[in-house]
């Protein structure tokens, strides 16, 4: 028998795992799993499978994974470019820098599929507020530079 529990809560959550034992009629041992979330609503799903594995059927762990996917959604196949060569650098970045980097790869005949920019692409609101996501840093990414 394989069992699983999935806890649906986006808030910060703690999971406590302790021994469980009960000796009322016969001695049972196992685990207590305690989920505690700081906010939100109570939502969870339980899965189990006791099917025996045969040559033609998935094993119980595979069955658990399939059952979970009916809740969370089945993973799509990755886009083909994600399997290529990625270049990622945590560094200062501007439209000029990223275009120059792309040209340098071409110049040196190095095939690159994806250029990543780290967090410095974003508008920075100062130390106290950090980056504002979804807004390009207007100093390094001008209308002309992006176009």
């Amino acid at each position: 028998m394989t069992q699983a529990v999935t806890w649906i809560n986006a808030a910060q959550t703690w999971v406590f795992i302790d021994d469980y034992s009960e000796t009322s009629t016969e001695t049972k041992t196992g685990s207590n799993i305690n989920f505690v979330s700081e906010s939100g609503s109570l939502e969870f799903f339980l899965f189990m499978s006791s099917a025996k594995r045969t040559v033609h059927t998935p094993n119980r762990v595979q069955r658990m994974s399939t059952k979970l996917s009916t809740i969370s959604g089945f993973s799509p196949m990755p886009p083909i470019h994600t399997l290529g060569y990625h270049f990622s650098k945590w560094d200062g970045v501007s439209s000029d820098i990223i275009i120059q980097r792309s040209k340098n790869f071409t110049l040196n005949q190095f095939p690159v599929d994806v250029l990543w920019m780290d967090i410095n692409w974003a508008q920075n609101e100062g130390d106290r507020f950090g980056e504002e996501y979804f807004v390009f840093n207007p100093l390094n990414f001008t209308e002309d530079g992006i176009a």
Binding site: M1, Q3, A4, V5, T6, W7, I8, N9, A11, Q12, T13, W14, V15, F16, I17, D18, D19, Y20, K28, T29, G30, S31, N32, I33, N34, F35, V36, S37, E38, S39, G40, S41, L42, F44, L46, L68
Partner: protein
């Protein structure tokens, strides 16, 4: 639906007005007839889930350096046991 609108997980006010740390929030316990548990994540530790005693596993994705043998959560967060 059960909600915790005041986010009162961390503190509760004592008799003298002082705040006391408590484990409180939306919670539920599950009994499994086995000690071999897998899941949660992401962490740099054994695949087999350990007894937590006073330091629980945490479902909260963090951008922290890896610490081998610790329960601290890293990038990923998978709410399945």
């Amino acid at each position: 639906m059960i909600v915790n609108p005041t986010d009162s997980l961390y503190y509760e006010n004592g008799a003298n007005g002082s705040e006391t740390d408590v484990w409180k929030g939306i919670g539920l316990g599950f009994q499994m007839p086995t000690t071999k548990l897998f899941g949660l994540g992401e962490r740099e530790d054994t695949l087999l889930l350990k007894r937590t005693n006073d330091s629980p596993y945490e479902l909260f994705a963090r951008d922290k350096p890896h610490r081998p043998g610790h329960k601290e959560s890293l990038y990923g967060s998978h709410p399945l046991v």
